[in-house]
């Protein structure tokens, strides 16, 4: 039997984000059926009545009063009310700053700690450029996680960084590992001789994780932001990072990856690589044209998996080359049909789409604006073989990146599994620092939900996932993989391997 009790806070305004979190957290922690917080306006009081949450206290509340209604099994009600009270009591301490104050400006941080060398900036674009300029002027390296910075501002900031002898990683830079410290989305990887420069966040994560599994460590991993290698920017961050890696005593081998650079930048970069005192390999996503690099004797690879192998063999020519794929699933038991790719990483999505395209043979669709692909956008359903990047701006309006909040992607997973034309689902799962924990459970839950809703018919479909992570991550790659496998998901060793395997099933071809 459900019972209702209310807490009325007279003349109280609370931040709506806080109230939303309070409702969800109190409900989840206490097992209550419903916890709702709203101002006691006439209209809201009517809502409380309509939804069976009204009490005499609610009826007496005024428009400036905060009303919190808790509905729970009678046995749980006290616990739920106590949880709400606990959350309410805890909040003002933080808001009023009664205890220790967390530094909120760069000036405060620098005043308290002179050892700071790098700052990660994640504020709205309009403010980010000012904060970045301030940090560079203060002699700090900057990882600019924020996006919405114009090309002009990026160029100006990188020029300033050059004048100050600092490194500006970004904008829209999501991954870096500097002196063993992970920044934003990154993984726990072993330390070693390979230094990396990447104009791609998830690409960098995939390579650092695959190297880790090959037993090869990383000295430094610098992000540059996706536009750095365009001619408008001229690779200013990549050149600075390359100088650092050339000077870094812990770095013996260097890998550079990203979308193909602009013509001038590619030539300049190649000249620099030719003069490098350390071996350098490159991987430019989505191209197989390496004529100039071949002529200059620069090693390269066609996908992130092969690039990781290439770097591993540079460090040790005897390095094993067959450990990444892991044991392949016994047989491709699925049947031919449509393939749907649901990705949280843009680079991983593009890599998978481009590897799958020649195998599938027919037209592919994506929201990534890949040349030759049909266009999809967030408001359209999937068409044909479709590859979705859920980290695209359209999906992240007002909500966190899917690596942090996988719910939307999971809803789509259920939807695609219920589509009778679909035979294979392909997805990535990026774990580690910054990523949501428990993604595998959510994924498995979505697969089970589809099974229940389809009366077991969705079991005919093959779900293929590559987990980008390491054994050092919490939860670990193997723990997440085990949960997926238990739900019938095929877990492959890398994004490229998963893409090729999934496309082979969808096309009815033999993977080998």
């Amino acid at each position: 039997m459900l019972a209702v009790q209310t807490i009325i806070l007279p003349d109280t305004y609370r931040d709506s984000v806080f109230l939303m979190k309070l409702s969800v957290q109190a409900r989840d922690e206490s097992g209550a059926a419903q916890v709702s917080a709203m101002m006691g306006t006439e209209r809201n009081k009517e809502l409380f009545v309509r939804s069976g949450l009204s009490t005499p206290q609610v009826e007496a509340a005024k428009a400036d009063d905060l009303v919190i209604a808790v509905q729970a099994e009678a046995a749980l009600l006290d616990k739920a009310l106590a949880t709400v009270q606990q959350l309410l009591d805890a909040a003002p301490k933080k808001q009023a700053g009664a205890g220790e104050v967390t530094p909120q400006t760069l000036e405060q941080v620098l005043a308290n700690d002179k050892s700071v060398t790098t700052v990660l900036i994640s504020v709205a674009g309009d403010y980010a450029r000012y904060e970045a300029a301030k940090a560079l002027s203060a002699g700090l390296d900057v990882m600019l996680y924020s996006d919405n910075i114009s090309l002009e501002d990026e160029r100006a900031l990188k020029k300033l960084a050059g004048q100050k002898g600092r490194l500006l990683m970004g904008p829209d830079c999501g991954t870096a590992i500097i002196d063993g410290v992970p920044f934003a989305f990154a993984n726990t990887v072993r330390k070693g001789p390979v230094g990396l420069i990447a104009a791609s966040g998830t690409g960098l994560q995939e390579v650092t994780c695959l190297l880790d599994r090959l037993g090869v460590g990383v000295s430094q991993a610098y992000g540059t932001g996706g536009r750095d290698l365009k001619d408008e920017i001229g690779g200013m961050a990549a050149f600075s990072a390359l100088d650092r890696l050339l000077e870094d005593s812990g770095t013996r081998f260097i890998g550079i990856l990203g979308k193909p650079p602009g013509g001038k930048t590619r030539t300049a970069l190649l000249e620099k690589i030719k003069k490098s005192s350390k071996p350098v390999a490159v991987h430019y996503l989505g191209t197989s044209d390496y004529a100039d690099e071949d002529a200059a004797g620069v090693s390269h690879a066609d996908n992130l998996t092969d690039f990781s192998h290439l770097l591993a063999t540079m460090t040790d020519p005897k390095a094993p080359c067959d450990t990444i794929p892991g044991p392949l699933p016994q047989a491709a038991e699925g049947k031919p049909g449509l393939l749907r790719g649901l990705f949280s990483g843009g680079t991983l999505c593009q890599e998978a789409a481009e590897l799958a395209a020649p195998i599938l043979g027919s037209k592919l669709y994506s929201n990534l604006h890949i040349a030759g692909f049909g266009e999809l956008n967030a408001s359209t359903p999937s068409i044909g073989h479709a590859f979705w990047d859920f980290g695209d701006d359209e999906f992240t309006v007002g909500r966190p990146h899917p690596m942090m909040a996988p719910d939307l992607r999971m809803q789509r997973l259920v939807q695609e599994l219920l589509d009778p034309q679909v035979s294979v689902i392909l997805a990535d799962m990026v774990i580690g620092f910054g990523a949501a924990s428990g993604q595998a459970e959510l994924f498995a839950g979505a697969v089970r939900e589809a099974e229940a809703r389809s009366g077991g018919k969705s079991r005919d479909k093959v779900v293929v996932v590559s987990v980008c992570g390491t054994e050092g991550d919490r939860p670990s790659r193997s723990a997440e993989s085990a949960i997926l496998e238990k739900a019938g998901v095929k877990v492959l060793g890398s994004n490229a391997r998963a893409a090729v395997w999934a496309a082979s099933i969808a096309a009815g071809k033999d993977y080998r």
């Binding site: 305004y13 419903q34 709203m38 809502l47 919405n148 359209e394 309006v397």
Partner: protein
Amino acid sequence: MLQHTKDTIAPKITQLGPCVVLNAAARMTVISAFSRSIYLSDQNGVILCLCDTTLPMGPFSLSCEFWSVLEKSLQGKIFKGATVANDGTHLFFSEICLKYADAEKWQPELPEQHSMMQMRSALKRIRNMSFPSQGGLGRLLPTVLGKASSELPRDALDAALLTVGAEGLANLNTWFDLNGDYHIDAAAKCLVGLGPGLTPSGDDVLAGVMFCLHTFGQLGLLSSMRRIVLNLAEQRTNHISRAYLQASSRGFVSSMLHGVMNAICADAPDLELRIKALTSVGQSSGFDALLGMLLAIVALHKRPGGTDTLRPPTMKHPGHFFHHKSK
């Protein structure tokens, strides 16, 4: 007293919102304190929002530089009911003083020019966007744009909210079609004070509608809506939200919403980015106001006379039609 010297970083008020009324000698009290803003009210009900410069400007903003220093200085001194004095040039929080005499007045610009073709193109781009799943009425935006909404209510209260909200929006649409007080009265009765948020979600929707009517000089519609909504708001919503509703009827909303309106009128390349930024404000306020604004734009397009009813804005600044009276 905290001094602003060469060697210390002292907080000061650098910008004032267009609806800020600072009555010298009036004693104000803190009515609510958040991490980056403090709401104040005087005995006449005048609202002020002292806030960090990193927050968007709004009608009642007193934008304060070096917020973190202020926050540290005010530790333990800011609580509901704490008094704040005003000597005509400074605000006094206990022994902390904040100069406002040199602050600039922020004045949002109206769109310089627009064509119906640009606005249609902008609306089409908005239709192609996906929107966040948040707690307020903004979730009904797809239906306003003629798209299916797949969102399910979270619980019984949420279901009731969406039902009443949808009824309010339907009444608003009918009002745009038919005019007359009946439907705007019905819409306002549904929406004023409805839903979650410091400013209830329904109030934000109505604010978005009134802001749009003001922007496009729809004086007749704005006048009747303003009368009915503000009258109901006296009894049916809270103090802070009431003040924001009044400001919106004079054409003043958050700087981010002004930015989105300007981007729609110009079909600007950064339209999606501006909407993205707007919809990340608070739990749902920006999104709810956007819903109201777009509902009004779409409805005005459909009115008899077609697109001719939309005239280029004739005023340089908002605040032209209705003059604010302090209560």
